[in-house]
């Protein structure tokens, strides 16, 4: 993305309406997730205010903003991971394929909406068992089908060639970048419709980061990706759409090019040009 002004050729087939103010509508058709009027509270403290946005299917959407702006919290409402925190609650509406996500069974939801975390968090198991984990909790009992699926997932995460001879080794033997790709492969193994990535490169060096970004590109035709990043260049490099959060509000949401080149809001421009952050 963001190659030139005409770089949105892939998007041309989509109807792009001009950016509206807060929580502007972007793509009219083919919306994977539709968030409207989302408020979020940790106990009495409100951390998200009336967030509305639409996540297009099989695209990469980036969420940027300074630390503590609520972008990670927002991401965690999309698979209800916030529920591990006591007294946290979300109010509003989130639709996943027109189904009310906040009313779904969280276990079912998380099989459809996967997540990759800030720090690589492989389980203290073998590489194979890590990838097979999600399949096993979903009822797979091993055998050739499981092995095939593990290989396919590792290939999709561009890790197969590096680990194919050491599948029984501990996942902790891998480097940080490999571990993060392992975590992506692990999430992909259950064929999620949406993959949430919470600053997946913040603990990695530039070379490992480049590999992950390359990987994200290759995944977007099979999966809707939403990535939180505090690295603006990363958002500009990988994302089709970008949302800018500030103090718990979604300030601007539009095609990445527009957000970075001709932002509609003063706050967005200040942030992007490095006036604060």
């Amino acid at each position: 993305m963001a190659t030139s002004d005409g770089g949105g050729a892939a998007l041309a087939k989509q109807e792009i309406r001009p950016a509206q103010s807060l929580g502007g509508t972007v793509a009219a058709d083919d919306v994977k997730m539709r968030v409207s009027g989302l408020d979020f509270y940790y106990g009495p403290k409100q951390t998200l205010f009336a967030v509305s946005l639409q996540v297009p299917t099989n695209r990469i959407t980036a969420l940027i903003g300074p630390s503590g702006c609520g972008k990670s919290t927002f991401l965690r409402t999309l698979n209800r991971m916030y529920e591990t925190v006591p007294h946290a609650r979300a109010e509003g509406e989130i639709l996943l394929d027109n189904e009310d996500l906040l009313a779904m069974d969280p276990v079912t939801l998380r099989r459809r909406v996967g997540m990759v975390f800030q720090r690589p968090n492989p389980f203290p198991k073998s590489i194979f068992d890590n990838i097979a984990y999600g399949l096993r909790v979903n009822g797979s009992h091993g055998g050739a089908a499981l092995r095939e699926k593990v290989e396919k997932s590792l290939r999709r995460a561009a890790l197969w060639e590096e680990v194919k001879d050491q599948l029984q080794k501990s996942a902790y033997a891998l480097s940080g970048g490999q571990q993060q790709r392992l975590c992506i492969a692990r999430a992909l193994a259950v064929d999620p419709e949406v993959l949430l990535l919470d600053e997946p490169c913040s603990a990695l060096d530039p070379i490992a980061t480049a590999k992950i970004e390359e990987l994200l590109f290759s995944l977007q035709d099979q999966c809707t990706l939403i990535i939180v990043t505090h690295n603006m260049q990363q958002a500009a490099r990988v994302a089709d759409f970008t949302g800018f959060f500030l103090l718990g509000k979604l300030i601007e949401y539009n095609k990445t090019e527009i957000v970075f080149k001709t932002p509609a809001q003063k706050e967005t421009e200040d942030y992007i040009t490095g006036r604060f952050g």
Binding site: N79, M81, T84, P86, V107, T108, R110, R111, G114, M115, F117, R119, N121, P122, F123, P124, K125, S126, Y133, G134, R136, V137, N138, Q168, S170, C183, R186, A187, V190
Partner: protein, 280 residues
């Protein structure tokens, strides 16, 4: 300036020496006890001691086979009863608890841990020995089992709390239920700490004497089944040590040595088992 430097170096050196000395004392005490036991009891320790029954008063020789087996049975029963309750209670505290109830449970567990072991004996005596009208392995096992619960609860809880939140989140994010997450990720990750805690727990009650005095009592012969009074190593040490016979004193030392050796062997074996399973 110079004095400050000297003073600082002195304090540094002094504290280093003190901590090192205390660490040495810790290790030293164990080896001192072990050495003393070997010195006094080693001569009575023989194959016969491990495989024969005690001889009648006045005859020399004989062994403590029944006490070794008795202690084993008591610990088996206590573990079968205390470990599952303690383990699952610890899982509850670490993984499911809210605020008020876990606080009460934790506090109660600490109090239970502080209950003098002789009181635990009276408790088992009242609820098992009195209704059955005789001493038994069952009563002794129960008394030891109750004593195991608080440590098993607390050590399991502590071990589970060291597992980073991101591992739990990783499993939950893959669509694992909470219980599945605990059973397949959290507990295996904390396995080392849990097993170590439980071994220490068993080792601790293995040496308990007071709760056995009026529950398992003692026995000069084999104790078949779970229903009869049984000999146990700690009670044998106690009985033999306060006897007026020189020969028995030696056997008491030997029994102490056997008890300590069994605890050490169990400890090392379990640690090897745990580390062997992790390095895969």
């Amino acid at each position: 300036m110079l004095w400050r430097n000297i003073w600082r170096k002195f304090v540094n050196y002094f504290m280093f020496s003190m901590t090192g000395l205390c660490a040495l004392v810790t290790v030293g005490v164990l080896f001192f006890i072990l050495g003393y036991l070997v010195w006094n009891g080693g001569s009575s320790l023989s194959w016969a001691f491990l495989t024969h029954l005690p001889t009648p008063v006045g005859e020399s020789g004989g062994g403590m086979a029944n006490a070794i087996v008795g202690s084993g049975k008591l610990l088996l029963l206590a573990s079968a009863f205390g470990i599952p309750i303690g383990f699952l209670g610890g899982v509850y505290l670490a993984e499911f608890g809210g605020r008020a109830f876990p606080f009460v449970v934790r506090y109660t567990a600490d109090l239970l841990n502080g209950v003098p072991s002789i009181v635990m004996g009276i408790f088992a005596w009242t609820i098992v020995v009195l209704p059955m009208k005789h001493f038994s392995t069952l009563a002794g096992g129960l008394a030891l089992g109750v004593m195991m619960i608080p440590i098993a609860v607390r050590s399991t809880e502590e071990a589970l709390r060291t597992v980073p939140l991101v591992l739990r989140e990783g499993a939950l994010a893959l669509g694992a239920s909470k219980w599945k997450t605990i059973a397949t990720v959290v507990v295996p990750a904390a396995r080392k700490g849990i097993v170590t805690g439980i071994i220490l727990d068993i080792a601790r009650v293995a040496g308990e004497t007071a709760p056995l005095l009026f529950t398992a009592f003692s026995n000069r012969f084999w104790s078949p089944g779970w229903n009869q009074p049984t000999a146990s190593l700690p009670v044998m040490v106690y009985t033999y040590a306060i006897s007026p016979y020189d020969d028995w004193h030696k056997q008491a030392w030997a029994a102490g040595l056997v008890l300590l050796t069994l605890v050490l062997v169990a400890n090392v074996a379990a640690r090897l088992f745990v580390s062997g399973r992790t390095a895969h």
